[in-house]
Amino acid sequence: MARNTRLPEWITRRMKIFCLSLLVWLSPSYAGNAPADSPNLASLELGKQIYRKGKLPNGQPLHAVGAGNAPIIGTQTTCISCHRRSGLGASEGVNRAPPIIGEILFQARTLAYRELGGTRLSGKGARPAYTEESLLAAINEGKDVTGRNLDPLMPRYAFSKADAKLLIQYLNSLSMSGAAGISDTTIHFATVFTPDTLPAHKTTVEKILQAFFRDYNAETRNEKGRAKNAPWHKTRQYTSYRQLDLRTWNLEGPAETWNSQLKKLYGQQPVFAVINGIGHAYWQPIHDYCETNEIPCLFPTTDLAGQSAEHYYSMYFSEGVNLEARAIAAHLGAESEPPKTILQLYRRNAKGQAAAASLSQQSVNNRKINVIDLALDNNPALDNASLREKVREKISHYKADAVVLWLDTADMKNISDELGSNAQIQFIFVSSTYTRSPENLLPPTALAKTYLLSRFVPENNLDAHLRRFTTWAKPRDIDLADERVAANAYFAAMIVTSATRSLRAYLTRDYLIERIEHMLERAVFHSVFPEFTLGPGQRFASKGSYIIGPLKPADTKSTPPAQWIIP
């Protein structure tokens, strides 16, 4: 009997695929249709400078003629301005900047009409692939690859062939896929907690985010199945559908070690973005990690936002205590008789020191007001009598006529009597970041000269403001003990999942940031903040602080005046 020497079909099929792949890989056109030489890092950087800064390799700014024939120069001409960092474009009203990444420009755009049984290769929405020459003509002459005029909003440049080549190489380096943290089926997210987070807060946040993700994943409309037979305009929507997955990253130990912990956790499972999380007193190391590694860090609950020269990937609810310090300066700057010397008290920790430094900086800017510091050491703690004595001494020595308290409830209780009875003090500022209801702590004599700084919706309006969230949370059995923490988690989940859904096929981190910038103003829920607005390059959704006061005793029915200040 003759022996059957034929290999099984699956092996021959795989061999064929392997051989074909090898051929494709070895062929000179492996780089796709993009008509570019393989760039080196230096030329990519030059292309990036043109794209992002409008700066030519010879150091000169880019010149162009804009709509209405207005000459424009430098940063006004940058590609990034309209087509954004992702290169995937954006829209403003009826004006639209289309995607200009290489893998889109250098591919023919055909529209398939499944229903009509064919594809359309010309007409609106379809075009042949650009070549380097036709793209240069588009950039310099304002004619697209079919010879039609581009939108008047697109400036007309005067690129040399060499400079255009650099720009094109950079456009080819941009992509709409391949972001870390995204598999064929799943988009991974993480939420981060710093070691000082209360276990109850952690549980609340995890519960909210998980519930939101569970709902999102359950709301599938069989996208994968639909993708196979989707109408042409929905194919990309269905094929880019992914389930969402959430990891919890618990940081431990001193802040200096957080970066290496984050690196390790990311190594175990890369994530597309970090969502919410808590770092009440200190978020800077996580901010730095996200900026360095270009990972979106979206809306953590923190009272002290991170800072960096390049600030792109971290979005915050509010700048935190730094903003409050500036609000005090702005408020006092508008007073007809502002105080001459402010004594500020704070605990010697990251948050307290940042608030104090920010207010001191304002005193430098506004030379009319002096700011004197009194830092309280965490260890050893001053006993109450010594603290009161020290405050009295400082007020008297520096002739302070205003006090700013970056102090929590316990510390405030200790010095409240001293402040109330001191006739020299005309203004007392307290921060709702530290204490929510100073009415219950300060004596009436002190209240009459006390102003509450609050970045949040006043307590008497909070229930109504949060109703959308509490209605969602109640049937899910979510603890609302700290509504700031809980509502922030809910908002972060809401905006991030909406933005992720709106990415469609553009699954990149830069585009996620751009989508949030674009859509946040439409949000109907603002967590515990009164107003939210974002735009290109804006990173703090809420930009102001109330100054409420002078305060009235807790049993008074009328509410004190509140002024929203944007410093």
Binding site: A67, Q76, N95, P98, H233, R504
Partner: protein, 245 residues
């Protein structure tokens, strides 16, 4: 049913579908003012859901411009590619206060009262439309100065939470704004009221549209939709002010 009849029926259904599809595709959605929003929505959807093509210069808006026509108003088109409509009109403007770059509370009606002004709406972090509008104002400033015409230019932010007087000053300096070109912010409610009065409010600031307003010393306004060139704006101003002489 025998096979040929079945095939014929399928063929007829196919034809019907073809006709319906063609009808749907060519349905004129830009035919009147109320449907212009529809146009906007379509663009919005296009970019996020279905499109990655270069944006062609659109004639659709221009062709619908006449549909805004009010019997009492006179419309005409400017030949410039970027302008979609020029409308002579009047506005009932609200009594609101704005905040100047030097943080001064300013009565808006007093600001524009009894003098010609050229006005636009911008915001400083806007990436596409506003840099063009502002660069154009910069040119308008130069042309007016060359023609020895003293007309105040007013730019009002539609992002008052972000655009503080300090930020507006920085932005004004970037574009070389002289003393006759002032930028204003205000509280959010006042800014929305003002935009509504000029029919310039589009909800989210990211949905705003390019507009320029030219006013004579009376309450007559010219509203220019689209990207007018500086020459167009100055020409419109001279035309409307000359008419009053």
């Amino acid at each position: 049913m025998d096979a040929p009849k079945l095939l014929l029926k399928i063929y007829n259904l196919y034809l019907l579908q073809l006709v319906l599809s063609v009808c749907l595709v060519s349905y004129p959605i830009y035919s009147n003012a109320s449907q212009e929003h529809h146009h906007h929505e379509l663009h919005y959807n296009e970019i996020h859901y279905a499109s990655n093509e270069i944006h062609y210069a659109s004639n659709e808006i221009a062709s619908s411009a006449g549909s805004h026509e009010d019997p009492e108003h006179h419309n005409h088109h400017v030949t410039n590619n970027g302008v979609t409509q020029v409308l002579h009109t009047t506005y009932s403007l609200p009594e609101i206060y704005l905040t100047s770059m030097s943080n001064k509370r300013t009565d808006f009606l007093r600001l524009i009262n009894k003098q010609p002004v050229i006005l636009n709406f911008i915001f400083t972090t806007c990436t596409a439309i506003c840099p063009v509008l502002t660069a154009t104002f910069s040119q308008v400033q130069e042309q007016l100065s060359a023609a020895k015409l003293s007309v105040p230019l007013i730019s009002i932010t539609i992002d008052p939470e972000q655009d503080t007087p300090a930020r507006l000053t920085e932005y004004a300096n970037k574009f070389g704004a002289g003393p006759n070109w002032q930028f204003y912010t205000g509280d959010k409610a006042s800014i929305i009221t003002l935009q509504k009065a000029f029919d310039a409010y589009r909800g989210n600031k990211m949905n705003h549209i390019p507009l320029t307003f030219v006013k004579t010393s009376t309450n007559e306004w010219i509203r220019i939709d689209g990207f007018a060139s500086a020459t167009d704006i100055v020409k419109e101003y001279i035309k409307i002010s000359g008419k009053k002489k």
